[in-house]
Symmetry: C2
Subunit: 506 residues, 2 copies
């Protein structure tokens, strides 16, 4: 494990539990505390260096290395996510880590202050990308692509200010899937929700729920309740906190901090506490206030169709139409969604509200047009998987169940019980490598047999080939199973075949 080798196991587990920033969740207090402990330990560990050379060896604030153990977990997650994207016919795409500064301006509202800028060293002004959605939209506009289904995996960077960001990383990985183009309504949107279900089921994270709403319903509801248009975004961001604050507190914030008339707040309160399935859609069609609003009706009509498709996909029971879902980002224009994990038995005692969302997305029909000189629009819908949040949950579960991770894939170890057998070992291992077999040996002229066998047990290497004088004379090699300790002598020329057979059987 990286810099935290000296941490007590409990603190280490707690630290892991917040390894990645959830797309949209508060940092639970307990975790925040452990994080401070960890930072203190870390600093004290580093002090000797600081005193000696006035230079601290560390990664920048808010970033971390991934150790080999962590890499195995992350690769497993990415593999599940990307396989699903490919199963749905997505093409790959990659964009640079930085963009022209102006590409990112006016896309993130108040969050723009969190963008990392590069130093002006002459030439263009550049910023590190803040998400993958804006670079994707820039790619479509720049190449005049009107239709594309693609996925995009990469790091993004956010200079989260300490007050809101404790426990959140400043460098984190996003996995996006997007469908761009003019199509018949709700078919791509339904596929995005299907993909979220497949990924969350595939990762075996326990039970989950996807909250769905529509930006037009949110805005229309505000209008119908009497929120002044100038306050839409501010009230939206209050509503967005309902997953971690009670309605009472949110109402208080809206009335006192955002000067919303109490009766308007109450009208909103009546709606945002409702959630349900397609029956809630039907119910709102009849609502005397909302049914007067054109935007709301459009949103409801689309949601009705969406639920029809979700039923055909067999996932309707995973979806909850939730009027409290607002989503902060400016660029959403239609359906929006957010997946949350529900409490599972081994997490009993934790507040299910604190689990946060692990995937989110929505429709953004106007973003590509912002880059087009003539404003030509390309409607888009997409989703982003919160790899880092999922990473911490998977890693936590592995700790709970005591699962061990192999950090290498080595299949065969080449050993000898005798001195002066380096030449034979090198010849033999080259033969294995050339046959595509994953093999290792110790970089010693004369290693002890016990050291070699211990290495195999520690690293989880299943097979050992042993060569010595006796074997040389008889033209054989001993093949040993590390688990059973059984050894058989195999003719040298049959060795590769026998190993391949055993590996394909297992």
């Amino acid at each position: 494990m990286p810099q935290l080798g000296l941490l007590p196991r409990k603190a280490w587990v707690a630290l892991l539990s917040q390894i990645l920033r959830p797309p949209h969740a508060a940092c639970p207090r307990a975790v925040r505390f452990h994080s401070q402990v960890a930072e203190a330990v870390l600093t004290s560990q580093l002090k000797p260096n600081q005193e000696k050379s006035n230079f601290i060896i560390k990664t920048p604030k808010g970033t971390r290395d991934l150790s080999p153990q962590q890499m195995v977990v992350r690769e497993k997650i990415l593999d599940t996510v990307v396989s699903c994207f490919k199963r749905h016919g997505a093409k790959g795409l990659d964009t640079p880590a930085f963009e022209l500064k102006e590409t990112l301006t006016e896309k993130y509202g108040e969050e723009s202050v969190l963008i990392y800028d590069l130093k002006d060293q002459g030439g263009e002004l550049l910023s590190l990308r803040y998400d993958l959605t804006v670079p994707f939209a820039r790619y479509l506009a720049m190449n005049k692509v009107k239709k594309m289904k693609c996925y995009h995996v990469g790091k993004v960077w956010r200079r989260e200010s300490p007050t809101i960001a404790q426990g959140r990383y400043r460098e984190f990985c996003q996995c996006d899937f997007d469908i761009a183009g003019e199509f018949d309504p709700m078919i791509p949107d339904a596929e995005c929700l299907k993909i979220m279900c497949e990924i969350l089921s595939g990762l075996q994270l326990g039970d989950f729920l996807i909250k769905v709403n529509d930006r037009r319903i949110v805005d229309g509801m505000f209008a119908a309740c009497g929120v002044p248009e100038s306050k839409f975004r501010a009230i939206c961001s209050s509503i967005d906190k309902l997953d971690k604050m009670s309605w009472k507190d949110v109402r208080h914030e809206m009335v006192t901090k955002k000067s919303l008339a109490p009766e308007v707040a109450d009208r909103i309160g009546d709606y945002v506490q409702r959630h349900g399935g397609v029956s809630l859609v039907e119910q709102l069609f009849q609502d005397p206030r909302l049914s007067q609003n054109k935007q709301v009706l459009e949103g409801l009509g689309d949601l009705k169709l969406l639920f029809e498709y979700l039923t055909l996909f067999g996932i309707a029971e995973k979806i909850s139409f939730d009027l409290s879902l607002a989503r902060g980002l400016d660029y959403y224009t239609g359906v929006i969604y957010e997946a949350v994990l529900l409490q599972t038995p081994n997490q009993a005692g934790k507040d299910s509200l604190s689990m946060g969302s692990v995937a989110a997305g929505g429709r953004y029909d106007g973003l590509v047009g912002m880059f087009d000189p003539k404003g030509h629009k390309v409607p888009c819908v997409g989703l982003s998987i919160g790899v880092e949040r999922i990473f911490s949950i998977v890693e936590q579960r592995m700790k709970v169940f005591g699962e061990k991770v192999r950090t290498t894939e080595t299949q065969v170890f080449v050993a000898t019980p005798q001195k002066n057998f380096l030449q034979e070992r090198l010849k033999l291992i080259a033969e294995l490598w050339d046959a595509g077999i994953k093999a290792e040996l110790l970089y010693k002229n004369n290693p002890k047999l016990l050291t070699q066998l211990h290495y195999c047990e520690n690293m989880g290497i299943p097979l050992v080939v042993i060569i010595g004088e006796q074997e040389m004379k008889e033209g054989v090699i001993k093949l040993r199973s590390v688990a059973s300790r059984e050894e058989v002598a195999i003719k040298r020329e049959h060795l590769v075949g026998e190993i391949q057979k055993r590996l394909s059987d297992s």
Copy 2:
């Protein structure tokens, strides 16, 4: 293809040919010219936008997006490279895109001016990483790791100045493999060379050669020839140009620009034009001048042992001991190497010298100690694969042979010849997805059958399932092979099994 849609095919191919900066090669003049043409075309294409909104939609200078076609090629290369690293028992590692500025200082000599700094927005001063070797060494020192075999894949950034950098990208991907730890001499070093051979053979790039030398031989030779120690690095960088300049020109540069005494230059010239196998090693052991130098003798002794191991690995004939190989980076302390591609038939007419190196590396025993407060050393040896250079060669070859790339992996398309079959198509495709089958449909309520079949042909999708009224009645689905146009009716409940059977057979 990205921004270059309007380029003539020839210019496009030429541009591709230098898509990525080789680890250590000059940019051939012809390519440089095409690159300028491309830039001019690009600028003129973008002018309309600039005039309208004063904002150019583009990627930052020296960077590019990877289109789906390019992503397929890059993934294929990365897969070959990483598989080989894993075959040799390497663990994965990841480090942040940026480091503390001081982590990178005093590591890259004159090249330090090419480091991208981040803007000072309060807090730590940061820089984008310049290679993966320094972050790896920082990781080892920070975590007090004394022994590790690992690989590291990621983007690095270099603000190449236009005069030396035309045609080189400012953002590019590196794939590193490193062995850290105290071991018996030359065993890990030989494995690094074996890995380079396996990767270059695996990628089928044509014939190649790996030049080998030792930093101690380079320095000892300079001393023995009478180069003042203060000029070692400057003369080293002149020598380094011998793969793209004649000895006459290099000598001229050393004597006139670097004020080296002509007789010293001639002494060097006598050595740096020599290359060969282990016999050259033996020959230099007898050389009256070099055999007096302790450093040279150490280097020669190690090279002799190295060649012994390379012979056991069956790769000695791919390796050339080449006294002109110097390698620019400061941190090398022992054996150094560089792989170059040799002329292949379809590249006839091109100068083989201009192909540049595609992989390089060496031993750096002092770098980790630079980060350790007590200077504790961790000897390391490693290699870096020039993915981008290889990328351009693979892509060029695909153009030459007219190879087509599939950008998706879709196995089955769900089609209908009739109107109002969306519901059935959605139910059916969900069943396929849930069975792990890669499937697509058109996002239209009522697409034409011909449109659907054309889509399959264009995208290279091998199978189509067709559902219509007749099939519904009979409880069957038609399964069509796109290539043979054969259709068979299959009972609905047997469909998934039949598709899986066909896919595993093919």
